[in-house]
Subunit: 417 residues, 2 copies
């Protein structure tokens, strides 16, 4: 086949948005403008949903000022989707691509999106239709395979660290026990990033719990009690997805049933006799269970509330969408993975996912971009690596700070009297 | 009495901290350095608690760089307290002041702190002990009497507006119903500030509910349904303190019982048969009741969840403590009320609270500082003014944007495709 295939290009955004997901759209728009091979660049409204519905918005002719403002805006400017296409859905996407003479497909998302891109790519190969497919990584959860880290994580890490830093000073002002519940249902990367808030002896977070280790409530109460004994207060960072040593069944989209570790929130609700609400797949709706409040209630019984106020916050959607809290490194890399996807797609008949390799460390951090196989990124997710979790399972190691600090970038000033 | 009374000065911080409360401490430190009348400036640890315990930290000799960093740090650098001193407690404070030759007392806090300052001042007057007492205003709730606004509010307003702006783009990405619960139990100022996030037609927040108007659940469901019909989604800003048209009893610290409007969260919990937890005064613990979840549950029944995801976030303590989200105007005014308190205290045998008068409007905004009577500030709180609440009770008027915009300062860039 020829090195240059002329046709249209489609770009879409998928899954939970991030603070920098539009940087990647703008990166693609900017890079595409430099290649004659692309006739028109079409934005699919709400990801794959807009592809099958032929709901496209032309992305040509936007001026640089507008592009810069869109890049700086959180949320998915094209709209996102929770649809996880099966083979039939992907077939429809491919048919629309053929109809609209689409030769380049850029899909910004997590590992499910890499999977979708991979299926569409296979369909094109089978049909001997030249389609160059690139997955562009994004997720605040940072749980993608192959890449060192995912665009979106750095800004979310900056938000979490800034929130925990300020909250720690608030907690020191009015000493008590404070539980902060952080996003990341199956991976502890973002919760671990709370460690960036800790700079001096005595700073919070004093305890960090990630879903990669079994959470033991009695041990938790002991940990908090010890911290309160030492400092007169305790600030806790805990992943929304922490699990206990039991299992439960979940029903997958394809009808299969899988046994998974039981979330602590489910165990507590069962113990307390709180009715569990279930979705149409008969899976427990976890967002209905207030983990922070559950843990606070446990501590009231275990540590005693007489002397210390016990409070909890769930950081929620602000972690991925707060306007004005962006890591410059993250923003720049999110733009670059978009540009790189276009460059790779123009380099020959290749497909893949853009991944980041770390070069240098600490102040010398730099990211390098390379092509990964779609299938390698699509196959699964990456938990927080074992080497980063502390021995006692209630903290993360300094090596994780070295990993995360350059991604989150400069943090606010904190000083004490 | 003489114009200049020589002695020591005490400064303390009280109540819920803000992002700029340390600006006022630094303002006092800076200004005191210019007056020979003050021998030593003592910081009381944890407000009145540190005064009765004689737990003081010297605040002399801190270099300018360190002061600048402390000023920029959220939370109360001296520690804060929830203690509300009665006459006996105030008598102890006064005794400590006599013992330590304290002639200047600066207390940063809300209206309760103005009340404490007022009682201590009365005791000094009775004893013919010259003590110059100044209350320095702070509260994210913005519910102080006399002053146009309170330092701390502007930065909290910026946080809320930034959060709602980003969350609105997130909600537009994956259309659904989103409820954001905002601080301010008895006053709607901060919830109203969410309107700053709305800049173009169709932007959220689409509905704003403050505690100054009775909240009717059926009407709420209608409001949301209408917005969803128009826009396919709905973002709601609601005060944690919204009330229904029933009353309930609360037991005050002094043993008296008062009838107050019943919070919506309490009414819903009663209807749902959720047990109400009570504190040692037998008052319902409101923070245990997840208002956002309650409203989401109502909407699931009333609007239907089949088509739209319904989610809620409670912004929590981040509103007053998030590091790195400060309004420059707010920071500067918080510094200035500290300086002004010292200047006024040095101007003669006067006492009072520093208040802010607004001069100019919009881009021409400027604040002017003046002395208010302690008693006038101590007597009560100020609800969101009626003129700012929209006709239907589900929004705030443009006049409120004019009021709040200069206080919150510049907001992040938002652009759409």
């Amino acid at each position: 086949m020829s090195d240059v295939v002329k046709g249209n290009a489609v770009i879409g955004q998928s899954g939970g948005p991030t603070a920098v997901i539009n940087q990647s759209v703008v990166g693609v728009i900017e890079a595409v403008a430099g290649f004659d091979a692309v006739d028109r660049l079409l934005g699919a409204r709400h990801g794959v949903r807009g592809m099958v519905d032929e709901d496209f918005v032309p992305l040509d002719g936007l001026d640089a000022g507008r592009l810069a403002r869109i890049a700086a805006t959180p949320g998915a400017a094209l709209g996102s989707t929770r649809d996880k296409p099966d083979d039939e859905y992907c077939r429809k996407i491919f048919q629309v691509f053929e109809k609209h003479k689409v030769r380049y497909f850029f899909y910004i998302g997590g590992n499910d999106s890499a999977g979708t891109a991979n299926i569409v790519n296979d369909l094109a190969n089978e049909a001997k239709y030249e389609l160059r497919v690139f997955h562009i990584p994004k997720t605040i959860d940072n749980d993608l395979l192959v890449t060192d880290h995912a665009p979106g994580f750095g800004s979310a890490a900056k938000f979490v660290a800034s929130a925990v830093m300020g909250d720690d000073r608030d907690n020191a002002s009015l000493p008590g026990i404070k539980i902060n519940v952080i996003m990341g249902r199956n991976a502890g990367w973002l919760t671990a990033a709370s460690v960036l808030a800790r700079r001096e002896e005595g700073d919070g977070p004093h305890l960090i719990y990630v879903p990669e280790r079994v959470f033991d409530v009695d041990r938790f109460i002991e940990d908090v009690r010890a911290t309160v004994g030492r400092l007169g207060r305790c600030q806790v960072a805990v992943s929304e997805g922490i699990v206990c040593d039991e299992e439960m069944e979940v029903h997958k989209d394809d009808g299969s049933v899988k046994r998974v570790p039981k979330p602590v929130a489910v165990k507590v609700a069962e113990e307390m006799g709180i009715p569990l609400e279930r979705d149409r797949h008969d899976n427990i709706i976890l967002s209905k269970l207030p983990l922070g409040q559950f843990l606070a209630d446990y501590l009231e019984k275990g540590v005693g509330k007489k002397k210390l106020r016990i409070r909890s916050d769930t950081f929620g959607y602000l972690q991925r969408s707060f306007a004005g809290c962006v890591s410059p490194v993250d923003a720049s890399e999110a733009r670059e993975v978009g540009r790189k996807a276009v460059e790779l797609a123009m380099s020959g008949d290749v497909d893949g996912s853009v991944a980041i390799r770390r070069t240098g460390a600490g102040g010398d951090y730099a990211g390098e971009f390379f092509r990964a196989e779609l299938a390698d990124v699509a196959t699964g997710t990456r938990p927080l690596e074992e080497e980063y979790v502390g021995e006692d399972g209630n903290d993360v190691r300094e090596s994780f700070r070295d990993y995360a600090a350059p991604l989150a970038g400069e943090l606010p000033v904190i000083a004490k009297l």
